[in-house]
């Protein structure tokens, strides 16, 4: 399969989370993902974009979110970036059930790690957060890539 990419930037409004899920699922459907895998990807993206809005730009501060999608060698890469507050303690943020809000479960990063093959979280206080998530269809694993 040929390399493909898609990039979009949008304001950190909760209404845009649903749209970001649709975009990523449509893009990911170019690979041989099962419906279950596509659902997992939708959850992971929803968590990543929600984190930008909740933690990157807290108290309804509006900022920009960048969503970059790439398909290369049969592998989907999703990069979600905000330019907001950043995370001071990445280890603490990754702790399951760590949340400062009683209405939240602190499972966003856990779901992202569980549902994707790889998840890399980079952050710098005051500059923003970048999350890279990678997934390859289960049906394509073990056969290597089929790059044209």
């Amino acid at each position: 399969m040929k390399t493909n990419y898609f990039q979009v930037k949008f304001p950190s409004l909760p209404e845009n989370i649903s749209l970001s899920r649709v975009i990523v699922a449509s893009f990911a459907a170019q690979l041989d993902f099962t419906l279950n895998e596509l659902e997992e990807i939708r959850v992971a993206v929803s968590e990543a974009v929600s984190n930008c809005i909740i933690h990157g730009y807290p108290e309804n501060r509006e900022g920009e979110i960048s969503l970059e999608l790439t398909i290369d060698n049969g592998i989907l890469d999703i990069v979600v970036v905000d330019y907001g507050r950043g995370i001071a303690d990445l280890d603490l943020a990754k702790t399951p059930a760590y949340s400062t809000d009683p209405e939240r479960m602190g499972l966003g990063l856990v779901f992202m790690e569980s549902f994707m093959d790889e998840m890399i979280l980079e952050s710098e206080p005051g500059k923003g957060t970048r999350v890279v998530m990678r997934k390859k269809p289960e049906r394509g694993k073990g056969h290597g890539g089929n790059r044209e």
Binding site: S46, D101, L107, V110, S114
Partner: protein, 112 residues
């Protein structure tokens, strides 16, 4: 997302349609909490989730919040017609340990 509230005695039945995420979970929370505040006789909460097409940790957090509210009244939280993609996330989040799952609203009303 649409939310329909109906009463069956001391049970509040909530039918949710659409996606439950950061954008929509405040509406879910506010509708139920307003009804709970309005009527102290509500004891149990039944969530009809058949038409919930998507849920993430924000939606799960909103369900957990309602479990806390109804537990404070000594009541129970029941999920009915839970689609497989929701049940998987309920299991991963631990919600299945604290809420009751029933096949239909009728079953839930008979159980409570």
């Amino acid at each position: 997302m649409t939310i329909d509230l109906t009463r069956a005695g001391c049970i509040l039945v909530v039918k949710v349609q659409g996606e439950l995420d950061l954008s929509t979970s405040p509406v879910f929370r506010d509708k139920i909490e307003t009804e709970l505040a309005r009527d102290e006789n509500i004891r149990h909460l039944v969530l009809d989730l058949k038409d919930v097409s998507f849920i993430d940790s924000s939606g799960l957090g909103a369900v957990l919040g309602r479990f806390k509210s109804i537990s404070q009244r000594g009541g129970k939280l029941v999920g009915v017609e839970v689609p497989p993609h929701l049940e998987k996330l309920f299991a991963l989040s631990g919600l299945l340990k604290i809420m009751i799952i029933c096949p239909t609203v009728e079953d839930a009303l008979n159980t409570l």
